[in-house]
């Protein structure tokens, strides 16, 4: 753990903000402060890298190409509903 280095955020503060930092949810100043801390602190950097990797594995679950049969049925459904098979929105 690092603490007290001049101008560098403490570990406990960086870790409190780490999730929001990795999610891109911090404002510019906070983002910069966490980034500086990670550049200077091996322990927190390792932790951030672990969560980045875990997140990228999870992101890989987000997209699933429908198998050909289901894909064809879906494409057919989309065309069906837009061409009057379902009640349609009032055209503006």
């Amino acid at each position: 753990m690092m603490a007290g280095t001049e101008g560098i955020m403490r570990c406990e503060d960086a870790l409190r903000l780490l999730a929001a930092y990795l999610d891109g949810e911090l404002d510019r100043n906070e983002h910069f402060d966490v980034e500086r801390h990670l550049e200077a602190c091996r322990s927190c950097y390792s932790r951030a890298e672990f969560h980045r990797l875990l997140h990228s594995r999870l992101a890989g679950l987000g997209r699933r190409e429908p198998d050909p049969e289901f894909g064809a049925r879906l494409a057919e459904l989309v065309r069906h509903v837009t061409r009057g098979g379902e009640s349609t929105p009032h055209p503006e």
């Binding site: 406990e12 870790l15 409190r16 903000l17 780490l18 999730a19 929001a20 990795l22 999610d23 891109g24 949810e25 091996r42 322990s43 390792s46 932790r47 890298e49 672990f50 969560h51 990797l53 875990l54 997140h55 594995r57 999870l58 992101a59 890989g60 679950l61 987000g62 997209r63 699933r64 190409e65 429908p66 289901f70 894909g71 049925r73 879906l74 494409a75 459904l77 989309v78 065309r79 509903v81 837009t82 061409r83 379902e86 009640s87 349609t88 929105p89 009032h90 055209p91 503006e92």
Partner: protein, 211 residues
């Protein structure tokens, strides 16, 4: 001017077809983790697409189409859950107060960095896609939905709040809790699969703020 209206309508249909089809892999990916089986996930996506077209007039801004469709997908999921709620066996979880779990704390061994070994990386390398799917599927619904939207679909906290119609503070707390539970599930899987020793600590302490 019927001709103008018809053309406008045709443009909307064409635009909807293009954008909906482009979104299908994301919708199906999310639906699989919501429904936790292929047949229900396919029905969910079909419901969402049909409802999206039916309610297209309520879409204010085409730029927000993705979030809007995911909101419909989630509403379809909630409706289906309600109809089968009598059989639901969701584990009740308090959103606050339960102790956070840090997978990193369980795995990290700083001295090994100098030895050229990285147990965290090795752990993630050994995880199969189905291990991750199982861990996500095991999350209680409220947390699973937020993890799906944030970590699988990349929505911002603000957009998730819009999709689920909940305050952004609730998004943050559910996401933190969901991630903690997810990491605990992955750890337990690692122990069960013999990837890690059962003698290592399981879930007490180690709150690192990320969980």
């Amino acid at each position: 001017m019927p001709g103008v209206m018809t053309k406008h309508f045709t443009d909307r249909a064409s635009w909807f077809e293009t954008d909906a089809e482009r979104l299908l892999p994301d919708l199906y990916g999310a639906a699989l983790r919501l429904a936790r089986n292929e047949a229900d996930a396919q029905d969910l996506v079909a419901d969402a697409v049909g409802n999206a077209w039916t309610h297209l007039a309520s879409l204010q801004d085409r730029g927000s189409f993705r979030g809007w469709v995911f909101r419909i997908l989630h509403n379809c999921f909630v409706s289906r859950c309600r109809s089968s709620r009598a059989q639901a066996t969701e584990e009740p979880y308090e959103e606050e107060g339960a102790q956070a779990f840090s997978l990193f704390e369980r795995l990290h061994q700083p001295f090994l960095l100098w030895w050229g070994s990285n147990p965290e990386q090795e752990f993630l390398d050994k995880l199969l896609r189905e291990d991750l799917e199982r861990a996500v599927d095991a999350l209680p619904e409220n947390f699973r939905v937020v993890v799906i939207l944030a970590d699988l679909q990349g929505f911002s906290y603000h957009d998730i709040a819009g999709v689920l119609e909940i305050p952004i503070g609730t998004v943050r707390s559910r996401l933190a809790r969901g991630r903690s539970l997810l990491q605990r599930a992955l750890w337990r899987h690692a122990v069960d699969a013999g990837l890690r020793s059962a003698g290592e600590p399981d879930g007490r302490g180690g709150d690192d703020g990320r969980d």
